[in-house]
Symmetry: C2
Subunit: 521 residues, 2 copies
């Protein structure tokens, strides 16, 4: 295991080091990881800035090949899944799947680059004879915003870390990336970072396209966001962390956008007919979604809303029985585990909140015991603490007096990543009445499934109104994530000799275009 961090093509060492902890044992893993300094941050940003103009002007085909090369290098990296298991406590199957998702994501962005729509070329041809004034030749395309700071996430050591969705979409847009690896998994980070470094070299790109900063202190991330060469930030993590980055980014002499995916409780609405017809099946499936991966998903179902009555009682009983049998799983870090326990304690100590069940007790470190609570709609409305995210397998069933109160509860909630409808045919009218509220509140609305499991595709939205994310106009999963790192530029009457290829009159890149307001045939 190599303990260096990566500045352009260099692997750097240092006297100051830190180690990763194995959350399953609370023991430090081998390998001392060199800690970057703020000087290294500045050097990485300087290199990224130097790489920017050539990287963003690569033909899309060349950037697509680079993304594919990153995927290949990750697949060729030995010991990656094993190291990620040791550093995260996540099981092999999950991490093997996550590696597949990470590489699939890179390849999907390669495909997107070849399709060309992302560049959004729009041409208004000159109208020299127009009265009273002629119209100039106007050509718009989107270009990369500049070097991007990416923060590795704790809960996706591969798919939302060094070569995860934020990096893949920034690279696709043409933005060099300076990544701050998550301090819980430095070994995983450097393995993936070296894979990117190799791909940069194999593709003959400027070394500044990628750097990896490592270290446990917040000041590195702060220096990164404050560096004037950084033009956008990608982050998945806690609300506190996201808000701190937003504040830093807004306080810069030149404010920049932060794309922070922060927190959500992902309400699940059980409509009456569905609850009546399949309450027991729903109860079991709910606990399956809730306890999967120890509940450490951004889309974990933390709140269930339904109208009180015997059908809801039966659902709750089934869920409680299933949850009581849920075996505790290792959580990602001891800090996350401690926060989870604190959150469960907070929920259970609120007045008029019932603890319906706790998961099985287990042995070993940092095991998260699932927790299921219930409260009335009135109690939930009166106590904002009950709507706070407890990261892990904790959830609360809110027993509403009627559909009107259910709508009121939903309407009072903050922005969410997802809202789920469990509904049968007879519920359509009731669901229709809730839909406008759901659309205002969430980036994704799903029916008769569970919010965990986020498809990486064209139509996906993994985003939503604040505080689910810092910017509801964006998604951090799916091809639309590229839009976070692009801005439009218009070229007016530029001679062919200096027009960028993408907007040249002959369209040498064969890009799809809107010409004079219509899709070009």
């Amino acid at each position: 295991m190599d303990g260096s961090f990566l500045i352009g093509s260099k692997s750097e060492t240092a006297n100051d080091t830190f180690r990763a902890m194995n959350p399953a044992t609370d023991k430090a893993l081998d390998t001392d990881f060199a800690i970057s300094t703020t000087d290294h941050v500045a050097e990485a940003c300087k290199l990224a800035d130097a790489a920017f103009d050539s990287f963003r002007e690569l033909d899309p085909e060349e950037r697509a090949k680079f993304l594919e090369a990153v995927a290949e290098e990750i697949e060729a990296t030995e010991g990656l899944v094993e190291r990620a298991m040791a550093e995260s406590g996540l099981p092999e199957a999950r991490l093997t799947g996550e590696r597949g998702r990470t590489c699939g994501q890179l390849r999907l962005f390669a495909k997107l680059l070849r399709q060309g729509r992302w560049e959004n070329v729009v041409v208004d041809n000159a109208m020299p004879d127009r009265q009273p004034l002629p119209r100039a030749d106007l050509r718009q395309r989107r270009i990369a915003v500049g070097p991007v700071a990416v923060f590795g996430a704790s809960n996706f050591p591969l798919a939302f870390s060094v070569a995860g969705g934020d990096t893949a979409s920034a690279f696709a847009a043409g933005c060099p990336v300076v990544c701050k690896g998550h301090p819980a998994h430095p070994g995983t980070s450097v393995l993936v970072g070296k894979a990117i470094q190799k791909a940069v070299q194999k593709c003959g790109l400027h070394e500044g396209v990628f750097s990896l900063i490592q270290g446990p202190a917040n000041e590195l991330g702060q220096a990164l966001v404050e560096d004037p060469r950084i033009k956008a930030v990608g982050f998945t993590g806690s609300r506190g962390g996201g808000l701190a980055l937003m504040k830093l980014a807004q306080s810069r002499p030149e404010p920049i956008p932060v794309y922070a995916e922060m927190s959500a409780v992902n309400p699940v609405l059980l409509f009456p007919e569905a609850l009546k017809a399949r309450g027991e099946a729903l109860g079991k499936a709910y606990v399956g979604s809730l306890t999967m991966g120890s509940g450490q998903f951004c889309t974990n179902p933390g709140v269930v809303l339904a109208v009180d009555g015997p059908d809801l009682d039966a659902f709750a009983q089934t869920a409680a029985d299933a949850l009581a049998e849920a075996q505790p799983q290792v959580m990602l870090t001891s800090a996350i585990h401690a926060n989870y326990d604190k959150g469960v304690e907070m929920l259970s100590s609120q007045s008029d909140v019932d603890t319906l069940a706790r998961g099985a007790e287990g042995s070993g470190c940092n095991r998260g015991r699932a927790a299921l609570f219930a409260a009335s709609g009135k109690t939930f409305l009166a106590n904002p603490k009950l709507a706070e995210e407890v990261f892990g397998a904790a959830s609360i069933i809110v027993k509403c007096a009627d559909m009107a109160e259910l709508r009121q509860v939903l309407d009072q909630m903050e922005g969410q990543l997802t809202i789920t409808f469990q509904m049968d045919d007879g519920d359509a009218e009731a669901a229709k009445a809730v839909l406008p509220i759901a659309e205002r509140k969430a980036g994704r609305i799903l029916a008769n499934g569970w919010p965990t499991g986020v498809e990486v595709s064209y139509a996906m939205v993994h985003g939503g109104p604040f505080p689910a994310t810092s910017d509801p106009r964006s998604t951090s999963v799916g091809t639309a994530a590229i839009e976070r790192y692009l801005r439009p530029v218009c070229y007016q009457d530029l001679p062919e000799s200096i027009l960028p290829k993408a907007v040249k009159r002959g369209n040498p890149l064969g890009l799809p275009r809107i010409v004079d307001g219509e899709v070009e045939a």
Copy 2:
């Protein structure tokens, strides 16, 4: 003249009133305009929120008809141009043209709505048999963000005020608008506001779709931006004003985006061959662009960059001669005129800055005398004050030692709305070397024209990196302005019975779609 302000369908009066000043005479115009209170702001926002769900779900055709109705009502408003002349000091031809632009803008957004691309429907069909996991049916569209606060601009009493670009694009997106009229032209504002009110009524829309708040105090705008029902802000004005709104919006419990178009000096680069071949013509055209409308355009050319030498001297001499003959024109308000004089004084008092010429002295109030300065590249690099916008017909010629220094000067400048190249064939190599810097700095790059005069079209970008705007991913002119007020929502496995029309499986609205990653035939 009616002195009321407009809350939904009501015309409100008040005991507290204010009057507009005629800048050409410094005399108050007739009509007492009722001053709104913060209670009125809250009432307008409440109505806007109540109107939101129905307005955003109108068929695009219905919203298009509403935009066209607004245009028709504006055209049918008697005395509009006359009142705008009295309140702004702008001449009749300009305001007649601006009215045409305002109505053309509304009609272009109507056309855009009918084309349907704005809704960005993306469908990933279900793949029930996919291994290892099936794929759900995923449908993305963009929906309106919510009620929008629009601030009227001083320098475009029609095209960037009550029914201007911000309002037109917000309406097009499906956002109700609460507009704060600019206090310099309350009569113009209420005339246009009544036209919108009539269109709302004729189209049978919810009255909350539009309200107009009036008054001279900043606290009204502050209350508007802080209202929790407002979800985005459109603003064109000063850097100070824009920064204040950004800060307010970020300090809300739920931060919201501010689209502020703030300040720019719009550098014009004279390349050597062009300067040699047509320096005199350029000098005259430059002064024409600079002094048009007393220089009160966001895209006014405030800085000229060129390599020092006899060709630049000839250009400067021609420009100085032309400027000395420029007749002073009435500026928009006495405050703007006073600020202009202060800015000119500031520039002329800087060390190593030459005053090349001042425009003719004129009689009458608030006449802005044009001003032309020159400084070396070294002086300009050392003194950031020389790069500050002086709103009005003031400009500085920066004499660079060579092309390398010219690039350095440009690279050091802040974000701009436009950068202009004056170039001939022989300048192509030099222009190519500057283009990447220009792309990083500006939203629009133009050749052999002048930055004033912004086409309202599909390809236009009237935006740019901070501080030209608060958000370089956006434009405030052209059809892409609609994107500021939209956010994506994904629908997963929703039954046809509750899917919104735009994403129903049969595509009843006939919208253009991306299906499984490809443009649908």
